[in-house]
Subunit: 201 residues, 4 copies
DNA sequence: GATGAATGAGAATTCATTCAT
DNA sequence: GATGAATGAATTCTCATTCAT
């Protein structure tokens, strides 16, 4: 039954992704089970807690961002690559209502999520370093700023998405301009460090 | 009994403001009633629905922003006034967990809220127009962009507030720099119009 | 609605007493609600937790024992009074399947239950002291031994009750004989003290 | 495969013994399977029902008591032997949280358990007869009383075990004194007979 | 007019048992 | 013969809203 089990797991993850994306993280496990065509207990076999399920999906999402950032960091035109990365990332945030909700909760403190997040930060750091060297990005921002700003763009965009689909792109543009050196004024607050985002820090 | 009733209403609104600010819009009506020292039914007499209560508070909050924007629009140093307004507004967003939640729901579509929002937009428009004339703000943004951007800053800041209090100020700085003409690139999306935010539009 | 509420509370307590007595403490709140003719939420309004409900009933039961012990302590024939008290107490244990279950759990650690238990112990102590003076009870037992022994008799009796109703009386007789001085051998363990039964002791 | 199957059965029984002893009869089959290193279905192949598994273990436990009683019945110092048997038996009850729970349910009515129980009763009867002849035990008790009293001691002891380990020994002492002739008063209930404990009797 | 008691609908989670591989 | 995946039924608890006093 390895095959069937794997298929069921995939159906659960797919269903959960869809349902959480549509309804947010408060969607009920029953709805996911119904969409996946399994009983709720089947979900609880794989994921002892609803939060575990959310964490698994969130981890995957962060991992996808990390991969994308890694590719962007290698691109020839680094300014273009940075913008492309942030556009794709923001679009991914927008497509999943639960993404930002997970980032708000302690889901983000789970070690497996932290590991992916560290990868993401590392890759973004490489991307950003090159972008600074190319004069595309102001010197006083760091990799931690990027996911924060993306979250803000996505949340603001979510307010409008139903009525003005894609409006978030406008706000991403403004934020990207804010990252350019040309308009930079001194920032009133220090950049974040890894310590700031660690549990109990 | 007019006096008692009015006092009760005030206590309800105060309690609801506190509770929703602390716990978010999912706080229970019972908790608000307890904090206000009234029965739950007393709340339901004034506000047929929990959402009606949220809307009343949201309306007040938007009204306060409108007043602040009006004052800012008259200030001598318009650049400084804009930044000051946005800092106070973002701080207000941060202080009330329910604020952004209301903006996400259809609370924002209620006519009384719309009226306040129109005032806010009008005042921000005056502020922004002067700021553009002073060369402080790029020409391609409009008043609708401001509350959107504030919401994004506040939501991003909320992610960090517990661990890095005040971090939102850093992100507001970046957004403010993004609004300056110096780094402006063409925006990929048109600005919003009043029609975009009307019900059924 | 004071009257109705009080009536409902009484019905809840009566129903809970019956259901827990019959089915034990694992009976479902739903069954109690059904028997009481109320919704489950009504029960949760009065008793935030199922355990709170159990504790309230347990407290009442201990209180009844305490009253009975107080009366017994005043009786003329102290030996007869002791036996009478223990018979009635054991009968009460037998009539309520949840009684011993509560004594096993941390329900017994609740302060309100502790207070009743302290009363019980105090009254039993008076009863026992007089019984010792009258030569009816061995000197090396104390008041804490009494509820323990009663529990044992009741639990043993419960095994038989369905098939041999009242068999517990036989075992109570044997225990009562064990408390008499005539057959006393040194006890291998020290008596309990109040400290032993306190939380964290 | 005979060997593997036998090994699995042994592992299941060992694991079940441990788990039920620690957690009581409400421990989940899944936990036992995990501890045994087998799948749950393997358990269900051997034991169609969780209760069948409990019964098998209970049968073994009763059998061990029967053996111990047989040895005690042959001992030179019969009073000492009786006390020793009851101490060991009570200790065994204490060490297995599920033991008394099984005795409470209809597990005890299964024929295989009955057979073991009959052995136990027979051996205890021999032990008791000799003890009566030696003047160590009152004449009006019989073998059926012994397991009942042990159960009572164990259940009472269980209430205290966590806080006052070994306290049960004190209560066993009292019960043993109650079995001595010196303090015997007439018992208010007749002794049990084999018929009382038969199914449907 | 105010109160707070009552409730129905639903949420997460658990577990003995069955079934497909 | 063994496995572990699947599940239905049950359980505790929550909350917005209505209703009787």
């Amino acid at each position: 039954m390895r095959a069937d089990a794997a298929r069921n797991l995939a159906r659960i993850l797919d269903a959960a992704r869809d349902v959480f994306a549509e309804r947010g993280s408060e969607a009920s496990v029953a709805e996911i089970a119904a969409r996946a065509g399994v009983g709720t207990a089947t979900i609880y076999r794989r994921f002892p807690t609803k939060e575990d399920l959310l964490a698994a999906l969130f981890e995957q999402a962060v991992a996808r961002l990390a991969v994308d950032a890694a590719e962007a960091a290698e691109a020839k035109d680094v300014g273009r690559a940075l913008r492309g990365f942030m556009q794709r990332a923001a679009a991914a945030h927008m497509a999943d209502r639960s993404y930002c909700e997970c980032a708000e909760t302690n889901v983000k403190l789970r070690p497996e999520v932290q590991a992916r997040f560290d990868e993401l930060i590392g890759n973004v750091d490489r991307l950003l370093t090159r972008a600074k060297e190319a004069g595309e990005v102001r010197a006083d921002v760091n990799a931690f700023d990027v996911p924060i700003l993306l979250m803000g763009v996505a949340q603001a965009g979510a307010l409008l998405e139903e009525r003005v689909p894609g409006a978030w792109k406008r706000y991403l543009d403004i934020v990207l301009d804010g990252l350019r050196p040309q308009a930079a004024r001194p920032l009133s607050r220090r950049p974040l460090t890894a310590r700031d985002l660690r549990p109990r820090a």
